[in-house]
């Protein structure tokens, strides 16, 4: 197949045809993304419960109140803890599984399906099962641990162990996704590099260290950004597993937003939280983009 890259500018009727073709996408994007975004910005400046006829304009008071409350900072801390935990564990494990599956192991297809299963499992259903297993008194995990002589923590009801337990579920759900993306990345690395390395006498570990990992850098950067955005929006696991407890240890920012919007009916504050989240995610992503020089990495 021969693809020619065009150099001349688009003709006018081509532009209008393109616009018409893109129209549905533009409208849908506008209606479901741009308009709500603008509307939340407007709401974040109000004191409004969603019912009252009267909407009180309060300027940046919602933001100021949030920034001076301990809840927001506690939630940011919990969210960052969760995000780092999920990225730090699900990426290495995803890569490990991908490398093992790529090395021509027997029963590849079965393992790939098994590892991908959590990704397509309903989070709420999975969380309920985890909650039963992690119950301090009657959960299987503690029953077994006690049986073999440990005195296990109360997991989801312990301020120190609750977040690790939530992270564990997040990692369990994410490994499969990372694995699939890494597998695709691995298959695009030319075999010749490995052959050349073997000729030079590189061990398999050295091959991973000097060929696989550097060549997968763009994939890794992409996975980090995706995991970060997903983790920042964490809600359902916490809603089912801990309800933000114990004592706020897992009160992540998505759950804080939910509470303000749908329990306290403070739409102004909820929208302000949404914007704080948005600004935070956008800036971290931008910084990351810069640092990793997305996709431009060349092999020396």
């Amino acid at each position: 197949m021969n693809l020619r890259i065009r150099t001349h500018p688009y003709r006018r009727d081509e532009v209008s045809t393109a616009l018409i073709a893109l129209l549905p996408a533009i409208i849908v994007f506008g209606v479901f993304n741009i308009i709500p975004l603008g509307y939340t910005a407007y709401l974040s400046l109000l004191k409004w419960d969603g019912f009252s006829i009267e909407r009180q304009f309060v300027g940046f008071q919602n933001f100021l109140e949030l920034l001076s409350s301990t809840y927001l900072w506690n939630s940011l801390k919990a969210t960052i803890y969760y995000t780092l935990g999920v990225i730090g564990l699900s990426l290495p494990f995803g890569l490990l599984v991908a490398i093992l599956l790529n090395s021509g192991l027997k029963g590849q297809v079965a393992f790939r399906t098994l590892y991908f299963l959590p990704v397509v499992t309903s989070t709420v259903a999975a969380s309920m099962v985890w909650k039963l297993m992690l119950d301090p008194g009657s959960g299987y995990i503690n029953v077994i641990l006690r049986e073999i002589g440990f005195s296990p923590p109360a997991w989801l009801r312990d301020t120190h162990w609750a977040m690790p337990a939530v992270i564990l579920l997040g990692v369990w759900k994410r490994i499969g996704f990372n694995m699939v993306i890494y597998l695709a990345g691995l298959q695009s690395i030319p075999r010749e590099y490995y052959e050349a390395a073997r000729v030079d006498g590189a061990t398999s570990l050295a091959q991973i260290r000097y060929i696989t990992i550097p060549l997968l850098a763009p994939t890794t950067a992409l996975l980090i950004v995706m995991a970060m955005i997903d983790s920042f929006l964490l809600f359902d696991q916490v809603f089912v597993l801990t309800g933000g407890g114990p004592a706020g240890a897992t009160d992540v920012i998505g759950f804080l937003l939910y509470r303000y919007a749908f329990r306290y009916f403070d739409l102004g504050k909820a929208s302000a939280i949404a914007w704080i989240m948005f600004i935070f995610i956008a800036s971290v992503t931008l910084i990351q983009w810069r640092l990793s020089r997305f996709g431009t990495k060349e092999i020396a």
């Binding site: 073709a21 549905p24 019912f51 006829i53 119950d135 309800g243 114990p246 306290y264």
Partner: protein
């Protein structure tokens, strides 16, 4: 190219149209469970005086199961005897009702009538979207003194009444007779005081078999707060000050109540777990709602009884109440009047007796509680409801402040720290007081 364009445009328009239609369709089917709901005609379009066909009123509520069947039967009865009105019953889940009302009020397709959780009443009353009922109450000569005052308290706002109580429930003690017997306790002697409760809980607990003595609600949220309030009132304390301007639970009574819970956990009467052990036969006792009588009568695979919730020897009986209140939304005078007639009928003694006998809800008015028909039914069919009916006179009310849900969350978050042993009883009450006061000053 140019011949392609119109067809492309047309194709796109069709695509968009289908998208919009499919996006809107679920919204209308979700709100209607059995029968499709016609869009509520907005008041500006129909001249209020010309109603040749019956006025259609929509009634949103979250009653399901037996309660849902009963309200449907009552509505059918009303529609038959009032041909000029047609009430449409629309079920919407508890967790969805308030957000749905919120969007409906903003979007203009609000219901005429809704039955809402009493905790939401103060918030709804101040929105200006619902109709004050004083004039209707006066015109219909409703005897408000017959309703329990703690019930009507949540309906009052700005010297007006914005809702009518329609159903209520409260919390009393349930105990598992099988587990009592297994622990060598008399299954017909439930505890009467806190000391007895404490002793029985310790004796009946069996950690090796995963059985706790007295189940407590220790997860953050309103579940913890509303259970704890009972213990607080029983020790003579109050949750908020009389003027509702500050926290009042950081008192000797509050300390006594919280210490009772903490000691129960420390001494093995309870082991921190998720709520719901009693129904699984894993707790000897629990304080739970009157609505569980009907549920456990059918589903619990063990023998159980009920009793008035034990209270301290130097304290007093108390319980917390929940339930629903009916409200009417602003439309036009004709619709509002028709809606009131239905509300008045639904909350009348005659309808309420039927309603309570079918659902197991507690009486909202004295003439129901003392009606011979109701008392006979209680004795014959479900005597285990008797402690709840008795407890109704000791029922307190959660403080009617608009941001109660936020206050409840903040309170439970600090109290949980003491329950899991992170901070002392005194410190937990202190930090909870600071947090609640900060919310009340807003």
């Amino acid at each position: 190219m140019s011949s392609l364009k119109p067809s492309l445009l047309l194709g796109n328009l069709i695509l968009l149209f289908t998208l919009i239609v499919s996006a809107c369709a679920p919204a209308t089917t979700v709100t209607s469970t059995a029968t499709p709901v016609p869009p509520t005609v907005s008041s500006s379009e129909t001249p209020p005086s010309v109603h040749t066909s019956p006025i259609e009123l929509t009634f949103w509520n979250y009653w399901d199961g037996k309660n849902g069947e009963t309200i449907q039967a009552l509505i059918d009865e009303y529609n038959t005897s009032h041909p000029e009105v047609k009430i449409k019953n629309v079920f919407i889940g508890w967790d969805e009702l308030l957000p749905k009302l919120q969007t409906a009020v903003a979007g203009g397709n609000k219901p005429d009538i809704a039955a809402v959780d009493l905790v939401w009443m103060p918030k709804l009353a101040k929105t200006g979207a619902i109709v004050p009922l004083n004039d209707y109450i006066r015109a219909s000569k409703v005897n408000l003194d017959d309703f329990y005052p703690s019930q009507l308290a949540v309906d009052r706002y700005d010297d007006q009444i914005f809702g009518m109580p329609v159903s209520t429930n409260n919390l009393e003690l349930f105990y598992n007779k099988d587990l009592f017997k297994a622990a060598g306790l008399d299954p017909n002697m439930p505890p009467k005081t806190w000391d007895e409760l404490f002793q029985i809980a310790k004796q009946c607990a069996n950690p090796a078999r995963g059985i706790v003595g007295m189940e407590l609600y220790t997860e953050p949220g309103e579940g913890l707060t509303w259970q704890f309030q009972v213990y607080l009132w029983q020790s003579g304390g109050e949750f908020l000050s009389k003027d509702l301007n500050s926290a009042a639970f950081n008192s000797p009574a509050g300390e006594k109540a919280l210490r009772f819970w903490v000691d129960l956990i420390k001494e093995g009467g309870y082991q921190i777990s998720s709520w719901g052990l009693f129904g699984q036969g894993k707790s000897c006792m629990v304080m739970d709602g009157s609505w569980m009588v009907g549920i456990w009568a059918e589903s619990a695979p063990f023998d159980w009884g009920t009793a008035l919730m034990p209270y301290p020897t130097d304290g007093q009986p108390a319980t917390n109440m929940g339930g629903e209140h009916v409200i009417i939304f602003h439309t036009d005078e004709v619709r509002q009047k028709a809606a009131w007639d239905f509300v008045n009928w639904l909350t009348s003694t005659e309808t309420q007796v039927k309603w309570d006998m079918a659902t197991g809800f507690m009486p909202i008015r004295d003439t129901v509680a003392s009606s011979p028909e109701y008392l006979l039914w209680l004795e014959k069919t479900e005597p285990r409801l008797k402690p709840f009916v008795e407890g109704q006179k000791y029922a307190h009310n959660r403080p009617p402040v608009p941001n109660y849900p936020e206050i409840s969350d903040a309170f439970s978050r600090e109290i949980e720290r003491a329950l899991i042993g992170e901070v002392s009883v005194k410190d937990a009450l202190q930090t909870a007081e600071t947090a609640v006061n900060a919310l009340l000053q807003k």
